[in-house]
Amino acid sequence: MKHDIGKLPEILDRHPKSQESLIAILQDIQKEYNYIPCEALTETATALSIPLSKVFAISTFYNAFSLTPRGETIIRVCTGTACHIRGAELIKDQIETALGIKAGETTPDGKFTIEVVACVGACAMAPVVINNEKYHGSVKVSGVKKLLKVKK
């Protein structure tokens, strides 16, 4: 399947053509498409004159990058220490049950992806769940369903 990567030249133009820009470019691509289409990897490698193997290695090394399409809504469950101590596991479990998928997966209708993040630095409000960009603190079991309904 061919992916539309029409915005790529624009993204590439925003950055100097050096290896130093690679991670920032990949982040911008992911922001635009919600994931990194493989055509974009190839094009980026060519544009920056970096071997494709290196670009592939980098895009798989860093957690932030996804090479497969993700859901419209990305539910990030923080599992930092503070959140863990305050029951993040249970919240994760509840979200998984509610959406019928496991962390790291996307619902078949492409609506939701659950991701587990190591710490989002909002430890005082543990446990924390992020619905797209919106932070929800002190999440309780009873609040999970409501939280999932929130659209961005």
């Binding site: 090394f61 503070a82 509840q94 409000m125 079991v141």
Partner: protein, 617 residues
């Protein structure tokens, strides 16, 4: 607004302070990530909207300050009326009109919005009188909550860039380094290496290009001080870096910011642009032969990139794998050039030291660890948040005076410091004065300052398993002891949590840990077994209960516990929908029945039950 000489800074400051005199009262709305999550953005909008609707005496948009994080995130959104320091917590949009009418127009205190000390229930009016703030000594967090986070002029108005101006125009680079060395400032990122010594080595290294790098990749789960500082006082970070650059002779700086901190990136970016515009960054700064610029490099979600050599490779757009540091990065760092790398908290201390002198700084804290340290006090403690205390403050003071003790008056069990590289300390160490060396001596670490408080409902085996799991996920996979060793340690401890532990497992784990500690390539591996070793050391009997008796005393490890409904059940039916596995059945006002075969021990029923009708055993 161009700053070409020191006088310009002074002039700007005076002009701005004069312009602010119009407003006898100001509203400080905390807009740290925590308060924003609790709706601080809407509070700011509500204040602005109110101004749109009608004219308010002595009040204008300029008097509403979107400040950085106060650290008391749990009570957010926080609103403070200055100069009285009236402290309102958990403010809602509907409270805004009331605040304007009563507190701003009439200078009255709204009792209902005040913070009540959890223990005594006493309402406290002023910010500085709250227990949480009273015991703190805020240096690194000096401007958080005091100024608009992303405004250069506000930073200048509280004395910002004064130290930089002093350094560049009146001091020689070597004098600056002498001052930092004399201050005893140690790296706040974890290792505690003396910052001044690092700077000196870098200055003395022969090279045309040198770099100053700020580590803002706060990867330790449970720590968020760097985030708050970068978001709330970005100019202080820049000022520290600028002084360092001048001292070591660098002309390019980088700030490596975690991917998870978008607001920090935005604010830092704005701060850099403002500095470039005003001439504080760029060529011939303050008319001197000194040029410096700063770029932001964003991380992409890799804990290991907090390690210096991995971080530098990541900045260069490569895989963040550490390399062996038999040649130190201060000699051969970013792009193989001499590089000074310090973390956010370290840099923000620098302007203070230059401004007030090393002996002032040395007077704070302990002999070998001078100054203060910011901790993120989180977990099962009543007041959670970001705090800053002088080095040498005891754990007890931090947890019980500032933190106000344990939630629900449960017993204190342990405190975890130093993140995945640190350890868990039991109650017997509560009177330990916290500094770099004491923590290391008892098997933990300062780390970046995460302090996670645990009560008797926290299982220490589970905590160790959690950290090992985290490290297995985050290991870069380059060297065998870390990649395979931590993996096997995690397997072993998981078996213990599942009730499949065997006699001798503890010894096997201790033995394997030794190899991981000695033979791993970078800090992730050489400190990785610390949470495991410290919990075995201090909570061995809890491990033995898991292995021998197949019991989890804290009631956490799923395979070893059982949920049961007791006769306190009122038949409220709250737990039935909470259980995602249809394990609970029952009718209204009749004691519900839990089907053990269907129960996954997720604990949802326990969490929703308001009548203590669910037992864990």
């Amino acid at each position: 607004m161009q700053i070409k000489e020191v006088e310009h800074i002074k002039k700007l400051r005076n002009k701005y302070l004069a312009s602010q005199k119009k407003f006898p009262r100001k509203v400080m709305v905390c807009c740290g990530t925590g308060c924003l999550a609790n709706g601080a953005g809407k509070i700011v909008d509500a204040f602005t909207d109110a101004l749109d609707k009608r004219e308010i005496k002595h009040f204008a948009v300029e008097a509403i300050k979107e400040t950085g994080c106060h650290g008391f995130c749990e009570q957010g959104p926080l609103v403070i009326i200055e100069p009285s320091g009236t402290f309102y917590t958990k403010v809602k949009t509907k409270d805004v009109d009331k605040i304007i009418e009563q507190s701003i127009e009439r200078n009255e205190v709204i009792e209902s919005l005040l913070f009540a000390e959890p223990k005594s229930g006493e309402k406290i009016e002023k910010y500085g009188d709250v227990d949480f703030f009273k015991h703190q000594h805020r240096l690194a967090l000096r401007n958080l909550g005091k100024i608009s986070a992303d405004s250069i002029i506000e930073y200048i108005s509280v004395g910002g860039y004064k130290a930089f101006a002093k350094a560049v125009t009146t001091m020689k680079p070597d004098e600056i380094i002498d001052e930092i060395v004399a201050s005893g400032l140690r790296g706040r990122g974890g290792g505690g290496f003396p910052a001044g010594r690092k700077w000196r080595t870098c200055r003395e290294a022969a090279a045309d290009t040198k770099y100053v790098v700020c580590n803002g990749d706060e990867g330790d789960p449970g720590a968020f001080m760097d985030r708050s500082i970068m978001e709330g006082d970005p100019h202080a970070v820049l000022e520290g870096m600028m002084i360092a650059a001048f001292a070591v002779g660098a002309d390019q700086g980088y700030i490596y910011v975690r991917d998870e901190y978008p607001l920090a990136t935005t604010h830092l970016q704005k701060a850099i642009e403002d500095c470039q515009e005003s001439g504080l960054l760029g060529e011939n700064i303050l008319g001197k032969d000194f040029s410096f610029s700063i770029k932001i490099a964003r991380g992409a979600g890799a804990f290991v990139c907090g390690e210096s050599s991995a971080l530098m490779r990541s900045i260069a757009g490569e895989i963040g794998e550490p390399r062996a540091k038999y040649v130190r990065s201060v000699i051969k760092g970013l792009y193989d050039q001499p590089t000074v790398l310090n973390n956010v908290e370290t840099y923000v201390n620098v302007p203070l030291i230059i401004d007030k002198g090393s002996s002032w700084f040395k007077g704070i804290g302990t002999e070998k660890s001078s100054g203060t340290k910011v901790f993120s006090l989180v977990g099962k403690v009543r007041n959670t948040g970001l705090i800053e205390v002088g080095m040498g403050t005891t754990l007890r003071e931090i947890i019980f005076d500032i933190g106000d003790g344990i939630i629900d008056n449960r017993p204190f069990k342990a405190v975890q410091t130093g993140g995945p590289s640190g350890g868990c300390l039991p109650a017997e160490h509560l009177d330990l004065p916290v500094d770099f060396d004491t923590l290391t001596e008892v098997g933990s670490m300062m780390g970046s300052g995460g302090m996670i408080v645990m009560d008797d409902k926290t299982c220490m085996v589970d905590v160790a398993q959690y950290f090992l799991g985290f490290l297995v996920e985050e290991s870069c996979g380059k060297c065998v002891p870390c990649r395979e060793g931590l993996f096997q340690l995690h397997k072993l401890i998981t078996r213990i949590c599942e009730g499949k532990g065997e006699e001798g497992d503890l010894e096997k784990m201790e033995h394997l840990s030794q190899t991981v500690l000695t033979a791993s390539l970078c800090g992730l591996g050489t400190s990785g077994p610390n949470p495991l070793l410290s919990t075995i050391k201090y909570f061995r009997e809890e491990y033995e209960a898991h292995i021998r008796d197949k019991k989890c005393p804290a009631g956490v490890c799923k395979s070893l516990i059982k949920y049961e409904i007791n006769d306190k059940c009122t038949g409220c039916m709250a737990c039935i929908p909470a259980c995602g596995y249809d394990a609970i059945t029952g009718e209204k006002k009749k004691i519900h029945i839990l089907d053990q075969d269907k129960c996954t021990k997720c604990g949802a029923c326990y969490a929703v039950c308001k009548f203590e009708a669910i037992d864990v055993s």
